[in-house]
């Protein structure tokens, strides 16, 4: 019979049962989603990655090379396999008459079907494929990487069978038909790189006047090399060390290639088994785990809160059962049974929901990182963790309230009468709240009731505030971090005081490069910089990773370095060098404190040159950069009067800004003729400059605007920000649920008081207002706590993120907009969460209320 009571308790107050079950389920679903999605990613991603035959390293060359060199490298005992590719960057546009040029990276290989390294797989072909087949793409056709086929990369409205216009490096334009899509896992996601990838045959390369030769060599190191190592669970540090070992093989490969006549720009080694997007993936995984653990913790608060309240309501019944003979252990087991049933119902809901959400989340990962998800997965381990949480956590959370409730004596239990549950008026907090009336004399009585009711159940208030304040804290901190990162990035990119940069595939005379740029009426000045890939030869004879070395002219107008220590280059400097803080990151023996005056040796194009560090500058991109004087650079690299890089300044005031407001954008889309400005936008100007270089016979590697560099970097930095914001949103939902639970319980506890208020004249609206205002007061307090704490937290996190991303303390900005925005969000959330309990309160009749117990 007593279990009948337990089941009746479950069904008699369905909304209460739903509230408890949802409280438990929120955390369990979140854990299921996070662990489940990780299980799917771990199941599908490594398998996809191994299937492509990942190369251990690749070498980019200045000069072209042929199969003889590939075979020579493959014959090296340290190398297992080697393959050549030709990769060129070209502009493309969809509309043959339009002027919307975008970036496209074209890859050509001997045979896409038989390649063994970094394999590319055909994904989709036309309904009626070309007679020579789709793969490898026949002459005059092109296959696009599947994730690149998107409007924001320039492929709006494009379908298989359509053609695009590609501008060859020599300036000639060709129409190429898109005959299929392919999947290449080993590319940095096109959306992040803002470059589309595509595949062509060498015949098509020839159509674009490119030689049938390679400019990139992929290779794997030999089995013998790997035999030296025992692979257990590789940590990311282990992988980085192994990458350094592969780099050693890379140096040998570089020497061998150069001995065979090829000039190697640099060799990149990858940590084994690591995707190009590994850092992003790891970062997101850590964030998700943090999110899961946090939501579980908050869900525990929620469970404690709800169960305590339910047991408080049961005290009278406990007294009655004791009066008719129930013993404390019997009652204790009854209530633990009730809690267990709550947990079981939550589990039954959470497992399928967790599986569905895990599928959705892994699909999101798959879209960002461009891999395939093979459907939903039910994972026993994840389900077991969910079961443990949903059954054990509520039991643990219920111990204190159950023991306290069942120990109540009969006399205490049945003596509770009238209004007044929740002590008020004895603590300093209460006296302060009562005293607020003197500070805010205009505050009306109903508002005073709301304010004072907030502080009646202080334990419950604290538990509710924890989750809401955490959501507030994280949201406001994140917006401050984002603002700081954006500011730091803008400042960092500010060192490049030019608007467009162009890199050429071989050196040209500086006066020709500059003259060609200055032919454009919008260009105010152009400066050529020396540019080379370099490696540091460390004291222990190992070599560093690639260091981008710029040699700007003395008193360069296009560079505005931020010197953190020491000084900038002078015109009479010879072997002076200024390094960025990104350079220091990879060099353990060099620190900010000892860097000045250090003699460092760089390997530039095979020559070992010694430099003296005279300054430390802030880096702009997360890659190692060094600056040397142009005169010295020209002499030592034997490139006097020639350069491969030009920095161009334009008159931005005269450029069209493009449609700025929403209505202007709509107008530009619906009626392009209405745009009267004939001035180009910065992107159009960059495209004009590139065309003019190509038309004049320059071989252009790439043209980029600084705005594009800024937006790419912002996008990359923003990915973790978006996940953190999703975390804050989840916490907001959990917090809102907590608030809804608290308000529901408060309303149930105070039904009698509400009845009294109705009896003395309170209208529906008054009662609704009193309850809503109490919810808003709680939301407001959580906002205050979050806002105060977000200041130190965001300073600390910004420093941490800045040290990771910029290798130096970034500029800190406290986002006031974030604080105001969250105030609106949290008040909205509080109103939504309190509305249902408030509405219920305003609908009960006085008779129901006064007979309620």
């Amino acid at each position: 019979m007593r279990w009948k009571k337990v089941f009746r308790d479950l069904t008699s107050n369905l909304s209460r049962t739903i509230l408890v079950v949802v409280s438990i389920a929120v955390g369990v679903i979140a854990i299921g989603m996070v662990l489940g999605s990780q299980a799917i990613v771990e199941r599908d991603l490594p398998r996809d990655f191994q299937a492509i035959g990942p190369a251990d390293a690749f070498a980019i060359t200045f000069t072209n090379f042929d199969d003889d060199i590939v075979r020579r490298i493959e014959a090296m005992p340290e190398v297992e396999k080697a393959e050549g590719r030709r990769i060129i960057s070209v502009p493309f546009k969809v509309d043959p008459n339009g002027d919307d040029w975008r970036n496209l990276q074209l890859s050509a290989a001997d045979n896409f079907e038989t390649m063994e390294l970094n394999k590319v797989a055909l994904e989709e072909e036309m309904a009626v494929p070309p007679k020579d087949g789709t793969w490898p793409p026949p002459e005059g056709t092109i296959v696009i990487e599947r994730s690149a086929l998107s409007p924001n990369l320039g492929f709006a409205g494009v379908e298989l069978g359509d053609s695009i216009t590609v501008k060859a490096p020599n300036g000639k334009e060709r129409r190429l038909q898109i005959v299929g899509t392919a999947h290449e896992l080993n590319q940095f996601p096109p959306q992040l790189a803002q470059t589309a990838y595509a595949y062509v045959s060498f015949e098509t390369m020839e159509l674009l006047s490119e030689p049938q030769e390679y400019n990139q060599l992929l290779f794997t190191v030999s089995e013998d090399f790997w035999a030296q190592y025992e692979f257990l669970n590789l940590s990311s540090e282990d992988r980085t060390e192994l990458a350094a070992e592969i780099s050693r093989v890379g140096e040998l490969v570089q020497k061998e290639m150069e001995a065979a006549g090829a000039t190697v720009l640099f060799v990149f080694a990858f940590p084994p088994g690591q995707l190009p997007t590994q850092t992003i993936l790891d970062g997101i995984s850590y964030l998700l785990i943090a999110m899961g653990v946090l939501s579980l913790l908050l869900s525990i608060f929620l469970i404690i809160n709800t169960l305590s309240a339910i047991l408080t309501q049961q005290v009278r019944q406990i007294g009655i059962m004791k009066a008719i003979g129930a013993r404390t252990p019997q009652l204790t087991w009854m209530y633990f049974g009730l809690v267990l049933i709550f947990g079981m119902i939550a589990l039954v809901i959470s497992i399928p929901l967790g599986v569905v959400l895990a599928g959705g989340l892994s699909q999101l990962f798959a879209t960002i990182l461009n891999f395939n998800v093979r459907g939903f997965a039910f994972n026993w381990n994840v389900a077991l963790v969910q079961a443990a949480i949903s059954l054990i956590v509520p039991i643990l959370a219920a111990i204190v309230p159950i023991v306290r409730g069942t120990r109540t004596t009969v006399r205490e239990a049945i003596s509770e009468q009238g209004v007044g549950k929740g002590q008020f008026g004895t603590s300093y907090v209460d006296l302060f709240v009562v005293g607020l009336k003197a500070i805010i004399p205009m505050m009306k009585r109903p508002a005073q009731i709301s304010l004072r009711n907030t502080f009646r159940r202080k334990g419950r208030l604290v538990l509710t505030l924890v989750s809401l304040s955490l959501a507030s804290l994280i949201f406001m901190s994140i917006l401050s971090i984002q603002a700081s990162m954006q500011q730091t990035l803008t400042e960092s990119l500010g060192i490049f005081s030019f608007d467009v940069q162009t890199r050429f595939s071989r050196p040209y005379r500086i006066d020709r490069i500059v003259r060609q740029a200055e032919l454009n009426p919008y260009v105010t000045s152009a400066e050529s910089w020396g540019f080379a890939g370099a490696r540091r030869i460390r004291p222990d004879d190992t070599q560093s990773g690639n260091i981008i070395t710029y040699a700007p002219p003395a008193d360069a107008e296009t560079l505005n370095a931020i010197i953190l220590k020491g000084r900038w280059l002078k015109s009479d400097d010879t072997n002076a060098i200024v390094v960025t803080n990104d350079f220091l990151r990879a060099e353990e023996d060099l620190t900010e404190d000892n860097i000045l005056g250090q003699r460092i040796t760089l390997n530039i194009s095979g020559d070992e040159l010694e430099f003296v560090v005279v300054g430390l500058a802030r880096g702009a991109q997360p890659v190692a950069v060094a600056y040397v004087s142009l005169d010295y650079f020209e002499r030592v690299t034997d490139q006097v009067g020639v350069a491969q890089f030009v920095a161009i300044k334009v008159d931005r005031d005269r450029l069209s800004q493009g449609p700025q407001t929403f209505s202007e954008q709509i107008q530009a889309l619906t009626d392009p003729d209405s745009v009267v400005s004939t001035a180009p936008t910065i992107d159009e100007l960059a495209s004009q400059l590139e065309t003019s270089y190509r038309d004049a016979g320059f071989r252009v590697e790439e043209t980029q605007t600084i705005d594009l560099v800024n937006s790419i970097l912002t996008l990359i930095y923003n990915i973790p920000i978006y996940f953190l914001l999703a975390m804050a949103a989840l916490l907001g939902v959990v917090g809102g649920l907590g608030l809804m639970g608290t308000m529901s319980i408060n309303v149930i506890e105070r039904l009698r008081e509400i009845g009294v208020m109705r009896a003395i004249g309170a209208s529906d609206l008054s009662v609704l207002g009193i309850i809503l205002l109490e919810g808003v007061v709680i939301g407001f307090i959580s906002w205050g706590i979050g806002a105060i704490l977000s200041w130190p937290l965001s300073i600390w996190l910004t420093r941490l993120a800045g040290t990771l991303l910029f290798s130096s303390a970034p500029t800190y900005i406290f986002s006031r907009a974030g604080v105001v925005l969250w105030l609106f969000i949290v008040i909205f959330l509080a109103i939504i969460s309190s509305f249902l309990p408030a509405r219920n309160a305003s609908k009960v009749t006085v008779r129901e209320v006064l007979s309620y117990e």
Partner: protein, 253 residues
């Protein structure tokens, strides 16, 4: 509301002219509750008239229907059949929201367990009905609360929270709250049930004073026959019907 036409729940047009009705006028009240054992009639075709200035005690055993009767008069419950006209208003036709506001202006209720709001001071509890019903100017409300508290000899406790005073003092404050909007009718449900006999006497004396000096009409449910015998009129309820309606002349004398 002196004359009106309206359809009742059965769709029949009912109308009334209540300009001649008593202060409290119950006409043919039935009240049935659905129970598992079938419908239970708590009040049966009950008629009652109470005029201004009367002090009426309602007595009866548990389950006799006396609380149901009081709930009809206060509008807390509605009749299954019949009409409840209080101060010339057919209150059984008002919505819950309208009822609350009407009750706040026309009726003061005193409960057995005082039911003061614990987060408001004594004075604030008394000002609350004025706030809800927008009675008296805001800057006059505190003075009125203190004045009402002086009537029940509680002005010293005005700024204390309810849990800082005794049960008897809380009940006096509850009476002061019932007077907040100067309603013509006070309804008290077992007002002395939770008080010792001395305090109960004091509270009763206060009610007598309100009838005699403030011209209030009071209906009081009580179990205490001694108290019931001290009022002007005593209604005895049994099985949902008025068993006796006695005018106790000796009190008047």
């Amino acid at each position: 509301m002196l004359g009106w036409r309206k359809k009742n729940q059965n769709g029949n047009v009912i109308s009334g002219d209540y300009s001649q009705s008593s202060l409290i006028d119950l006409r043919g009240i039935d009240k049935a509750y659905e129970t598992e054992a079938g419908p239970f009639l708590a009040l049966k075709e009950l008629d009652l008239k109470v005029d201004p200035g009367e002090f009426v005690a309602v007595v009866g055993k548990s389950g006799s229907g006396k609380s149901t009767l009081i709930n009809m008069i206060t509008g807390i419950d509605r009749p299954t059949n019949g009409e409840v006209i209080v101060d010339k208003t057919p209150i059984h036709l008002l919505t819950e929201g309208k009822m609350a506001e009407w009750r706040g202006r026309h009726m003061g209720i005193v409960f057995q367990f005082f039911q003061l709001l614990p987060t408001l001071t004594i004075a604030e509890n008394i000002m609350l009905p004025m706030d809800f019903c927008n009675m008296y100017k805001p800057n006059e409300r505190y003075d009125r609360a203190v004045h009402l508290l002086s009537l029940v000899e509680m002005e010293e406790q005005a700024n204390k929270l309810p849990n800082a005073v005794s049960g008897g003092q809380q009940q006096r404050a509850a009476i002061a709250r019932a007077l907040a909007n100067d309603p013509p009718i006070i309804v008290a449900d077992e007002p002395t049930g939770n008080l010792d006999s001395n305090t109960a006497d004091a509270v009763f004396a206060m009610f007598e004073k309100l009838v005699n000096e403030e011209d209030k009409t009071i209906l009081m449910v009580t179990h205490d026959n001694d108290l019931a015998n001290r009022v002007k009129r005593k209604l005895t309820i049994a099985d949902g019907e008025i068993l006796s309606d006695e005018i106790l002349e000796k009190v008047l004398a």
